[in-house]
């Protein structure tokens, strides 16, 4: 079982030699075996019991059990404690065993995956767990990387290889990794087997984007960076095979280092419960002390004289000692105020709620065939108290699918779906999509609803043609044609893919490219353009251009880019068109679409020659190459003619805006933390803002959206301060002249900020966030952020996500929920009180770390508003009742103490004490805890405000607890004193004594069972058949067991154990007894009913009102009250530009490096520009990689 070796001491640096297992074994690096399970068959029982007895409650009961074995103290038989204790331990052990079994299973599955390891010069299939550090393993396309590898060589030229890192950081675009030049030539197995390079690198850490090390081989040193590493969890894509050297394995991999320790999450109710249990212990000790003092006094005053009939026990010589013993005796009999069944009942209820979540078919996604899953069963009620939601964007809010949605060509906007009368058609009643069957190369997956655009194409509108020609030419997409007409595009950003696909369907099919040409099928006609230059994209330029020569010989520049940039670079003659297009752009932006502006420009042959010459010189320049290039690009991209604009929809998951709207109405604050970072400094703020708009987090009604993008501490601080000032100003102007000035300076900043009128939003990017999260600014940041209605943090690292969550957790004392789909969300999912994973996608890291998982963001509203709310309600009602019933039950002993010489005599039969909590009263309250509903599920969606009591912690808090306790004590007083009053002098109807101990016990017990049953009946708001069965069944069981225990048969067998023989029939035949029970019941219940009625009548909760309405007017048509935020109001000028693009691909294409030789029509490339683009790529991505090697051209 123990296959995974334990880890050694932390290392300073790591030395790994390839193909040298003996050498590497010296260091005792962790093997590639992972272990998440806790027990094996042998260790299960001791370890599990040890863990269970670490629970204070269990130890306490063990202690009680030991106390009960001391005869002088024992006031109860041992079985009253051991039966429930064993029951509880068994249930927990079974649960732990099942959990661990599944962990074993999944560990085994992962450990037994196959990989090809180069051992002794041959490739062998080995299980993952047998892979050692220093091994060379071979990966094939679409395989998971088994460990953190140093890429040695690959099937692709220059040792390139493509990986998808979705598992690691949630980014789905492909990334390029490259082997160091020296190793990339080790192409065959025999040379690899001889490879004996040694890697010296940093010790294992969790930084996904950083790696530092050196490769020593053949007396040469080669620096290594993250660019050379394939990390465990990545998937190899578009690369036939590659070889890698295992550097980190198993628990040392960055993936596992990032998965962190599994922290045991507790709910706030748990914590409250623990506090209360401690208080109750305190209370218990107080009562014990009071009664012990009473006992000492009694023994001193009365008992000492009463010794003629009842001598003191052996060894008891003083009243004080007797009092001491009686203290322990009372601790034993009063321990039922903290019933052991509390914890186990809570677990059972949560388990029930978890099953309801698993069973909910409304949270089942048919498309992905994934039901919702409650992966932890301990957090359910906290779902009803969430105040902050931290959501990932890609894959959670959006589908990461880009859809060409609208476009504006020559001042005409296409894409709105219109009916005959020209009105925009609402979603859901769409006509048929446009038929692209004329085009044999069309992508069948593409849909467009506005037929007029296609008509324009077919009518030969030159603007539209030029528009699509641009889309088909100006991009860096690679095409692959597996068979004739079966085109596949490989785009490095989904935006581009969407645009090229759109052009393809409208008849401008990008067919293939070489480094010097682009072949396009224009309406069936194959045209090959000469590709003269790609003016690549970067984040300062925010645009990209291509310069092509058409077959006719005309040279043209096509440019696409951000509206803010491009509109300024147009020829002045475009002014009218620009105005119209700007209107369209605003409209698109308002809908949350990602926009690009397209423009073109004819170039004179002579001018181009000149420019090209200068470009050649610039790109070959040893220094300031970047700047010179930028200037040249800038020069040519001027005075362009506007062609139009595109609008791409970053497709949201289904129902996201509605869900966010409802959650907002439920007073839940939603923060979007997105890890998108297509390239350093990319316009992710715009992307995130766009999503914010499209999912209705941001609206045009908002007073202001603050964007914090500062790069230094001071800038960030300044920006935050400004934002706060603006909010202050806003609230001052709205505050009816009330001055906040004096408060401003004080520490009451929080309250002031939270009282801000007007809606603000905050957008902050990763750089600034890093500063904002520093210890001296975090509070400032939090105050600002919390004053905003919506917060969007973009380009945040996984660690920052966790930090943000931690920050809110730390200062806000609010329940947080994190939802995400990728491995980059794992840290925040683990940090938040509740982690939700989006399941059903290929990555399951997030799901594995999560507490709940389902496949659609929209299910969140059901999880919180229905399941969470009910769970919270049920748990609170359960706890209130549970404490009540145990106080009512136990406190009777306290009162009785005053009448039995404080001798710790119990009021009840010992069997009643044993069974009260586990049989007579457990099931009805469990049924309530599992099944209760105050309002039907539809209502909780209709009235999101119903969620508020949970956030404000209204249903179970210290106050409610004291009310329950008070009610319990009140009941216990009546429970004792009413029978006392009745029985004191009374006699039976046959003249015998009524107030004998056993009759008294039966009377009190019976009235107690009846009273608590009536009380649970009052508390139960939702009487299903099961509730009926349990409530009536418990009463029936009580009487059945009572009569059985008091029967002749049992007594004959065990006369000393069943002393109450004949008692039930004798006592319960007395009318006086029943009159007493009835009186007690009415007196105990009547005030409760009166109070509840008054509360309901005078100050009803929203849920009461809803419930009442529901009952009174069952047929009433519900009005949908969840306000839909209306469409965009227009107005604000906002750039909808967003383009997830990465620099460097233009050069890659022009160099032809990434094209297979087979697919190259022309072989006109040399090795020289190749080195340049690689260096560029390196410099831009790796950043820190050595600059001295970059200086050549």
């Amino acid at each position: 079982m123990e296959r995974c070796a334990a880890r050694g001491a932390p290392e300073e640096e790591r030395r790994v030699r390839a193909n040298a297992r003996e050498y590497n074994e010296k260091f005792q690096y962790a093997s590639n075996c992972i272990k998440t399970s806790k027990y094996n068959i042998v260790t299960f029982l001791p370890v599990n019991l040890f863990e269970q007895f670490q629970e204070v409650a269990n130890t306490y009961f063990l202690f009680l059990l030991i106390l009960q074995l001391i005869p002088q103290i024992s006031s109860l038989s041992w079985f009253t404690t051991i039966v429930p204790l064993v029951l509880v331990l068994t249930i927990t052990a079974v649960k732990d065993a099942t959990d661990d079994y599944f962990r074993h299973k999944s560990d085994n599955q992962v450990n037994n995956r196959q990989s090809q390891v180069l051992i002794g010069g041959v490739l062998r299939q080995e299980q993952w767990m047998n892979v050692r550090v220093g091994d060379i393993i071979k990966l094939e396309n679409n395989q998971f990387v088994a460990a953190d590898l140093l890429l040695l060589c690959s099937s692709e030229p220059h040792g390139l290889c493509y990986v998808e890192t979705a598992e690691l950081d949630g980014e789905t675009n492909m990334k390029v990794r490259q082997a160091t030049p020296v190793t990339s030539e080790l192409a065959d197995i025999s040379t690899l087997a001889r490879f004996d390079g040694e890697v010296i690198c940093e010790p294992p850490n969790n930084k996904l984007d950083k790696f530092g090390g050196t490769l020593y081989w053949k007396e040469n040193k080669f620096p290594l960076s993250n660019q050379n590493m394939l990390l465990r969890g990545c998937v190899l894509r578009n690369t036939e095979w590659c070889f890698g050297l295992v550097v980190f394995a198993g628990p040392d991999t960055k993936l596992m280092q990032n998965s962190g320790r599994t922290k045991f999450k507790r709910t706030s109710i748990d914590r409250l419960m623990n506090t209360l249990v401690l208080w109750i212990f305190g209370f218990l000790v107080c009562m014990g002390v009071i009664l012990a003092i009473g006992n000492a006094i009694w023994e001193h005053e009365v008992g000492v004289c009463f010794q003629i009939y009842l001598p003191w026990d052996e060894g008891v010589h003083s009243a004080v000692f007797s009092g001491f013993l009686s203290f322990w005796s009372y601790i034993i009999i009063l321990n039922t105020v903290v019933p052991i069944s509390l914890y186990v009942s809570v677990e059972v209820i949560r388990l029930g709620h978890s099953y309801f979540i698993n069973w909910d078919k409304k949270m089942y996604c048919a498309k992905r065939r994934t039901p919702a899953e409650a992966r932890t069963t301990t957090l359910n009620e906290e779902l009803g108290q969430v105040e902050y939601i931290f959501s990932d964007k890609t894959g959670t809010l959006t589908q990461n699918i880009m859809v060409f949605s609208k476009c504006s060509v020559n001042g005409h906007s296409y894409g709105d779906v219109q009916d005959v009368l020209g009105h925009n058609v609402e979603l859901g009643e769409r006509p048929e999509p446009v038929d692209f069957s004329f085009n044999p190369l069309a992508d069948p997956g593409f849909q467009f609803w506005d037929p007029s655009l296609l008509e324009a194409v077919q009518l030969g509108d030159p603007h539209v043609h030029e528009f699509f020609r641009l889309l088909s030419l100006c991009h860096t997409v690679m095409s692959e044609e597996k068979s004739e007409g079966e085109l596949y595009y490989k785009a490095q950003s989904p935006d581009e893919g969407a645009l090229v696909t759109a052009a393809r369907n409208f008849g401008f099919v990008f067919r293939s490219r070489t480094p010097k040409t682009i072949t396009v099928h224009e309406l069936g006609r194959a045209i090959t353009y000469q590709l003269l230059a790609i003016l690549d994209f970067n984040n300062i330029r925010k645009r990209m251009s291509v310069i092509v020569r058409s077959p006719e010989g005309k040279i043209r520049l096509y440019c696409k880019g951000a509206d803010t940039i491009l509109l300024e670079r147009l020829h002045p003659s475009n002014q009218d068109l620009t105005n119209v297009t700007t209107d369209h752009l605003n409209e698109y932006a308002g809908e949350g679409l990602r926009t690009l502006v397209l423009a073109c420009k004819d170039l004179e042959e002579s001018y181009y020659e000149d420019w090209a010459e200068r470009l050649r010189r610039a790109s070959g320049a040893p220094e300031a190459r970047e700047d010179r290039l930028a200037r040249l690009y800038d020069e040519v991209e001027r005075d362009m003619t506007l062609l139009g604009a595109t609008a791409i929809e970053d497709k949201l998951q289904q129902g996201v805006p509605e869900t966010i709207a409802i959650l907002t109405l439920a007073n839940i604050k939603i923060w979007v933390l997105t890890g998108d970072k297509q390239a350093p400094g990319s316009p992710c703020a715009e992307t995130a803002v766009n999503i914010g708009y499209s999912c209705k987090m941001l609206t045009d009604d908002m007073t202001e959206v603050f964007v914090v993008t500062g790069h230094t501490v001071l800038e960030v601080r300044e920006e935050l301060r400004k934002a706060r000032e603006k909010m202050m100003d806003g609230s001052r102007s709205m505050g009816n002249g009330f001055s906040y000035q004096e408060k401003l300076s004080s520490s009451k900043l929080t309250s002031v900020l939270e009282a801000i009128a007007g809606e603000y939003a905050l957008v902050i990017n990763g750089h600034s966030l890093a500063h904002a999260l520093e210890a001296d600014m975090e509070v400032e940041f939090l105050e600002t952020a919390c004053a905003c209605k919506a917060v969007i943090c973009c380009r945040v690292t996984p660690l920052q996500k966790a930090q943000v969550v931690e920050l809110v957790k730390k200062y806000k004392k609010a329940v947080t929920l994190a939802i995400g789909d990728g491995a980059n969300d794992v840290s925040m999912i683990k940090t938040a009180h509740i982690g939700v994973g989006i399941s059903g996608q290929e990555g399951i890291q997030a799901v594995l770390a999560s507490d709940y998982s389902f496949s659609q963001f929209k299910f969140l509203q059901r999880l919180l508003l229905v399941h969470g709310r009910w769970s919270y309600l049920r748990m609170c009602k359960f706890l209130c009742y549970f404490f009540y019933k145990n106080f009512a039950f136990t406190m009777v002993h306290f009162w009785f103490g005053f009448f039995c010489g404080f001798s710790a005599q119990t009021v009840y039969d010992q069997y009643f004490i044993t069974l009260y909590n586990i049989v007579y009263t457990s099931l009805p309250v469990l049924a309530m805890g599992v099944f209760d509903q105050d309002v039907p599920e539809q209502r909780s969606m209709e009235y999101p405000k119903l969620y508020e009591p949970g956030q404000l912690n209204l249903l179970f808090n210290k106050r409610e607890f004291f009310i329950c306790i008070a009610q319990g004590i009140y009941t216990s007083v009546l429970m004792f004193f009413i029978p006392y009053g009745v029985f004191a002098d009374a006699t039976r109807d046959d003249g015998a004594q009524l107030a004998d101990y056993q009759s008294f016990a039966v009377t009190v017990a019976t009235s107690l069972v009846i009273v608590v049953s009536v009380q649970i009946g009052l508390d139960t708001g939702f009487w299903t058949a099961i509730n009926h069965f349990f409530i009536w069944g418990s009463l029936a069981a009580y009487f059945a067991i009572l009569f059985a225990m008091h029967s002749d048969g049992l007594f004959q067998m065990f006369p000393n154990q069943f002393r109450f023989v004949g008692n039930a029939q004798n006592t319960l035949a007395q009318p006086t007894v029943w009159l007493t029970i009835a009186l007690t019941t009415v007196v105990c219940i009547m005030p409760v009913v009166a109070f509840r009625f008054l509360k309901l009548d005078l100050k009803p909760e929203l849920s009461d009102t809803v419930r009442y309405t529901q009952l009174v007017r069952k047929k009433q048509k519900p009005q949908h009250r969840c306000a839909r935020r209306g469409g965009c109001g227009g107005g604000s000028r906002r750039s909808g530009y967003a383009f997830s693009h990465q620099e460097g691909f233009g050069e890659l294409i022009m160099s032809g490096k990434n094209m297979r030789l087979s697919s190259l029509a022309l072989s006109g490339f040399t090795a020289r520009p190749g080195a340049a683009w690689i260096e560029t790529l390196r410099r831009k991505k790796g950043g820190e990689s050595s600059p001295d090697t970059a200086a050549k051209g």
């Binding site: 052996e314 009547m1086 009102t1105």
Partner: protein, 372 residues
């Protein structure tokens, strides 16, 4: 809008999972069993249910009805209780004037026994059967150590327990190495005063017949308490045991009649049924009504002869003799009647108050009140 380009879709069709526990969820296509949750009322939490709610229409009538039921019951109980004749004499003898004062400091083994006579007058006649009780105060029969100090197995006639009583009986388990029968503190402290009642008419004392059988529960007499099994007389059966320390006579000499002797002696059984409270009364004797023409105890002078054996003065105990008739609900019980009347009235009154409050300030729960 439609799928135009999907980075994720491109990646579809690859084996799912990765990292720890990879592949736990579906993927890879193939035989995926349906994971769609069942559409049953139970699993979807749509079980039909009764959803009671406290409305004015239910709560207020309930209060009135409870009031209207409780008040008559209370009055009934009160009247019944008042019709019961009860006469009580404290014969502890604490007051120096009391005839029993001389016996105040008796001990268990004082010989000859101290006797005293108390004369009293019944103002009203007792018509039906009269029950004679002895009452003890400040006597803690409910003390934990006292309650458990018995061996029910022995009392049930188990022969092994007879000779080897339970440890619970300590320190009254054995005496001079012989097992005590019946063992334990309860048995040891059995009440042993003898009370005799005389009617005094024209200076002649007529003894009133006191019936000593039928005072214990049937189940106690026939199930719970049994003499040891075996042949021979009781003396033989109790061979090898010794009497409780305080008792003057062994258990088989409690009564002359064999069916009221040994463990099944009813006085003993009554004593062994411990009281719940430190002040209690236990049935001592029955006085049956002889004929329909005469009351059981007519008004007049009586005298109570007490053989005073039972010391209670040391712990401030009190001893009483009570004569009482009973009704369907037992003896005199003023508390229950008053409690019922009070609770009934409160309910009724509360009903009225709630009605007024509801009428004046009540929330007419309408959907219009639902804020959003």
């Amino acid at each position: 809008m439609a799928v135009n380009y999907s980075a994720k879709e491109e990646a579809d069709g690859h084996p799912a999972g990765g990292g720890p526990g990879g592949g736990a969820t579906a993927g890879g296509g193939g035989a995926v069993k349906t994971r769609k949750p069942d559409n049953t009322a139970f699993k979807q939490q749509r079980l039909p249910a009764w959803q009671p709610i406290l409305t004015a229409g239910t709560v207020l009538p309930a209060f009135f009805i409870i009031g209207l039921i409780f008040i008559p019951i209370g009055i009934g109980i009160f009247v019944t209780s008042n019709n019961i004749r009860e006469y009580e004499i404290d014969y502890t003898g604490v007051e120096p004037s009391s005839p029993c004062n001389k016996c105040l400091n008796v001990s268990w083994d004082s010989t000859p026994p101290c006797t005293c006579t108390i004369n009293f007058t019944l103002e009203h006649s007792f018509e039906s059967n009269v029950f004679m009780y002895y009452g003890l105060s400040n006597f803690y029969q409910n003390h934990r150590r006292y309650v458990k100090s018995r061996d029910d197995s022995q009392l049930n006639g188990d022969n092994s327990s007879l000779l080897n009583p339970s440890k619970e009986c300590e320190p009254y388990r054995t005496n001079e190495d012989k097992p005590i029968a019946p063992c334990g503190a309860i048995a040891n402290s059995m009440f042993n005063d003898t009370l005799e009642l005389y009617h005094i008419e024209n200076d002649t004392r007529t003894a009133i017949t006191l019936i000593k059988k039928g005072i214990a529960w049937w189940t106690d007499k026939n199930v719970k308490f049994r003499n040891p099994k075996g042949d021979g007389n009781l003396t033989a059966l109790f061979q090898g045991t010794t009497k409780p320390v305080n008792w003057p006579k062994p258990v088989y000499m409690l009564d002359s009649e064999p069916d009221n002797n040994g463990f099944i002696n009813e006085d003993f059984i009554v004593w062994m049924r411990t009281a719940a409270l430190p002040t209690f009364r236990k049935l001592y004797r029955l006085i049956e009504r002889k004929s329909n023409l005469q009351p059981t105890l007519q008004a007049g002078k009586y005298s109570l002869d007490i053989t005073y054996n039972y010391p209670v003065h040391s712990f401030d105990g009190r001893k009483r003799m009570i004569l009482s008739t009973i009704s369907w609900m037992g003896g005199k019980n003023p508390f229950l009647g008053i409690a019922y009347i009070t609770v009934g009235s409160i309910c009724f009154f509360l009903g009225v108050v709630l009605l007024i409050i509801h009428h004046k300030y009540g929330n007419r729960n309408t959907s219009a009140d639902i804020p959003n």
